[in-house]
């Protein structure tokens, strides 16, 4: 009995110290890691989705609060007007976890102009088939942000890639949430950007 108690106690204490250490390290490095992801992941994605912008969307970004979360909005500003904005969101339901997607929306007609996956844990060669530029362009470009963006099997307009249903679903979820956020906060977004 004493042996079993000792086994449980030692293992639990070691695990507790491990969790505390990693939690602290994660918190401590959080800001720096976000900056690195900006440079190497979000930067290239934004450059692609907002290609042609005369300003630097990454440095002109504004932060909008959505409940407790802070969401970054990256704007394309031309001649004092906001042409497009890009927002990153995590879509749930991916095969290996969340799929993080950057969605760009035209602010004159609220149509989606582009979608790009920035981070994922999907199976290479299987789930990644739902992330090709041609598939994303065909499915998402030109959709109105107002519509509920869902897979066809869930009553929406998005074709899932056969064999990559979870990945397709997570991407649709991410785009849907991003567009919902943009529509819900569009006045605040425009006001914040104009303030800069």
């Amino acid at each position: 009995m004493k042996e079993i108690i000792r086994m449980i106690v030692v293992t639990t204490i070691i695990s507790a110290f491990s969790a505390a250490w990693l939690g602290a390290l994660n918190k401590g490095l959080e800001k720096r890691i976000i900056k690195q992801e900006d440079i190497y992941i979000r930067g290239p994605a934004i450059k692609e989705l907002l290609a042609g912008a005369p300003n630097d969307p990454l440095s002109d970004r504004i932060i909008i609060k959505d409940g407790e979360k802070e969401i970054a909005v990256y704007p394309w500003i031309e001649n004092g007007r906001i042409k497009r904005i890009a927002v990153e969101w995590a879509g749930k339901g991916g095969y290996g976890g969340d799929v993080i997607v950057m969605t760009a929306v035209d602010l004159s007609n609220y149509k989606i102009t582009g979608v790009k996956v920035t981070q994922h844990k999907e199976t290479p060669g299987v789930g990644t088939r739902a992330m090709t530029p041609s598939y994303l362009r065909r499915q998402y470009k030109g959709l109105y942000a107002k519509t509920k963006i869902r897979l066809k099997k869930d009553g929406g307009q998005i074709d899932a890639v056969s064999g990559a249903t979870h990945s397709s679903e997570a991407i649709a979820d991410a785009v849907n949430k991003a567009t919902k956020f943009i529509l819900a906060h569009k006045d605040e977004i425009i006001k914040e950007i104009k303030r800069q």
């Binding site: 042996e3 000792r6 086994m7 030692v10 293992t11 070691i14 695990s15 491990s18 250490w21 990693l22 390290l25 994660n26 490095l29 720096r32 890691i33 690195q36 992801e37 440079i39 190497y40």
Partner: protein
Amino acid sequence: MGALREFTKGFSDQLPPFRLVLGLCPTLAVTTSASNGIGMGLATTFVLTFSNILVSLLRNIIPAKVRIACYIVLIATFVVTVELLLKAFFFPLYQRLGIFVALIVVNCIILGRAEAFASKNGILYSTLDGLGIGLGFTLSLTFLASIRELLGYGTIFGIKVMGQGFEPFRFFIKAPGAFVTLGILLYLMNYFRSLKEKGKI
């Protein structure tokens, strides 16, 4: 063995993966360029050294029946630590190494040294053991990776070394090329060692 010997054995008779035949997974997978080899080797050395230190520190506290579980918790903690450090300070390397950083947890060298050495020796020797074997591993990875990069791309550490007329053998960058290169190096090392033992060199 003296303290110095504990450190240098990692470069001679306990050199991974050629003498201490462990850690073959990352050896084959990540040695596609010399800088990847060094990066992976140093990350593994970090985890190996610190896990050896902690296993040695706690060797009289951890009950024998749960030792493997506890070792894995400790090893995994340092792997996540190194992963966060890479993401924060060496992001491009983190992108190139990909899932293989997380797979350092199951690198046989680390659990092997924890069980075979750190659990039975003091902190100083365990530290030297981890450092020596880790750096020996780094040397092996960098060497293997340099050969593969040289033959597969014509460069070493990104610097063009081969002349204009050199046609790169992409074969060496792919998985079969890794096996072939490792096999040939292993053969050469064993051959020269047997010649030395017979007194012919």
